[in-house]
């Protein structure tokens, strides 16, 4: 088993590293790698170095983080809610993040303090608000509600936040509505490293918490009584899992917006490739989700002319057929 984990991590790790090295080399502008690293040219005058270090590298890093985070969050939600259709937004976390962002856009609150702009902060705050409600719901679970009730509660919260979001949008003018729509389509063109480094803190904390869960996730997927009979404190594990996965989702949304599809389908793709053992599925989802979003963003920024395409429009375009192909191959 150890060997399988090692082989899987090595394989998906190699893919992630290859993608992260190759993706910044490709783009709509031709750059020379020799010039990028030519120290004799001042950075301010080196267009190639700026394209590489300012435009492409932060974008690739953002994609790898956002993709990995959504995929891992998806794995956790699907296992704990025992529902293949669960996604990072099932409990309303990214609806909360969207509401935060739309409020900032509509009421023109987007100011920047020390290079940290209000939009990602507000979207993170919105997801934290939704997370609070999720946490309260999981407390209620201790008093004997089922995961189906939690799931329904999440759907209701999502719908409620979505309605608030539309209500706020109506108050803005058409340019605000346009900006909100663009934000909701997702964008990884962060243009600076600050936008990535700040959310990295909660992301790492959440991933560390989730790293303690693979065995619990395996048992819980089989059903709660089975897990409890093996001595798992399901309620406690569930709180850790839901809070961490929600934190992961909120951080990812604050970087790239609510990029659709990755969080719901990548976990299934990964399980089709490596099986259901969460010791393998979790690292594989992290690495494959990251690689997948880097590739999707590469297509988004190169295949549709100089202006590009929102990455959210590409994820399902590429991931959908790929998932169907895997599915048919498996069950032929």
């Amino acid at each position: 088993m150890r060997r399988r984990i090692a082989v899987t991590i090595a394989g998906f790790g190699a893919l992630a590293i290859a993608v992260c090295i190759l993706a910044p080399l490709v783009g709509t502008t031709n750059i020379s790698l020799a010039r990028v690293f030519d120290r004799s040219i001042a950075f301010a005058d080196n267009v190639d170095a700026q394209v590489f270090f300012v435009a492409r590298l932060p974008r690739v890093l953002a994609a790898v983080l956002v993709g990995g985070a959504f995929a891992v969050a998806g794995v956790v939600f699907q296992a704990f809610l025992r529902n293949p259709l669960a996604s990072p937004d099932t409990l309303g976390v990214s609806s909360g993040a969207t509401l935060g962002a739309v409020i900032v856009i509509t009421f023109h609150l987007d100011v920047a303090v020390r290079g940290v702009s209000a939009l990602p902060v507000a979207s993170f705050a919105g997801s934290a608000g939704a997370l609070g409600v999720v946490y309260l719901m999981s407390l209620a679970r201790r008093r004997g509600t089922s995961s189906t009730v939690l799931l329904l509660g999440g759907v209701a919260l999502s719908a409620f936040l979505g309605a608030l979001n539309r209500l706020v949008q109506v108050l803005g003018d058409y340019t605000d509505v346009f900006r909100s729509m663009r934000w909701m389509m997702g964008s990884l063109d962060v243009g600076s490293y600050t936008d990535i480094i700040v959310p990295l803190v909660p992301m790492v904390a959440a991933l560390a918490a989730i790293a303690t869960l693979p065995r619990v996730l395996d048992l819980v997927s089989l059903g709660e009584p089975a897990a409890e009979s093996r001595g798992v404190d399901v309620k406690k594990a569930e709180r850790v899992a839901l809070v961490s996965a929600s934190l992961l989702t909120g951080s990812a949304v604050s970087i790239g917006g609510p990029v659709p599809f990755v969080g719901i389908i990548v976990p299934h793709i990964v399980r089709l490739i490596v099986g259901a053992d969460h010791r393998v599925v979790l690292p594989a989802a992290l690495l494959f989700g990251g690689s997948f979003l880097v590739l999707c963003d590469l297509v988004a920024r190169t295949a549709f002319g100089p202006a590009g395409m929102p990455v959210g429009a590409v994820t399902a375009l590429i991931g959908g057929p790929f998932f169907l192909w895997l599915l048919f191959r498996k069950f032929r």
């Binding site: 394209v51 435009a55 987007d110 100011v111 920047a112 900006r179 934000w183 002319g305 100089p306």
Partner: protein
Amino acid sequence: MAIAAARADARLTPRRSEDTAARRIVSIIPATTEMLFAMGAGDRVVAVGSYDRFPPQVEKLPRVGALLDPNVERIIALKPDLVVLYGTQADLRMQLERARIPFYPYLHHGLPDVTETIRSLGARVGVAAQANALADRIEQQLASTRTRVAREARPKTLLVFGREAGTLRGIAASGGVGFLHDMLEAAGATDALADVKQQSVMMSTELVLARAPEVIIELRYGRVDAAARDDLKVWNALASVPAVKNRQLFVLQGDEFVVPGPRVADATARLASTLHPQAFR
């Protein structure tokens, strides 16, 4: 769309003489509202759209929704004899047809459409002479701006009309079609995105670096943004861009830049004097 507009125009053809002069006009588009006031028909406007801000008189008028959310009930209740609406508002047009309320469908693409609309709207409302004079005046002013900058070098310019404050995210710029593009070219610039045939282009930082504009002009509208000039410093991250290197970054504030109405000539002149201050000394 052209066919639909033509059909709608045919419906608008006046059958009786009293149809020609509109007395109670509802205009839900900022550009046409400004046109009606500028051509001297402001006293016939009984309601305006949610986003209309100019001239100041509109603040006293009732508001009846806009492009996405026209309030048909309120429009009909005002008993207008002409509704000026977007040509794309098919639902509203159908409802007005049923209520037998005449309408004027407005479509705009480029700068020439502004004066064309002023002339045809003026004729429809019954103030043709004033409307033609207004259109002539705008065309003369545009021509005089063009002449003034004719001999100047035409810097490659990026016209930005949206960006997240404090970052280089969500940069929306004017592409190679539309009235902003036309205004920029009339003001003596070469549009850095002239070949991208879209009205608005979502710019990646890579595209800004690749296009290397010599001038970047940011437009701000809606409420006055005092921090806008200070916020220009975020462009410093793209130090190799000539506009950044040579400090050719400007902010222009005013709704006239986003409303293709009678103030387009003033807006174009402001763009021109920003690009070529020496020609306006």
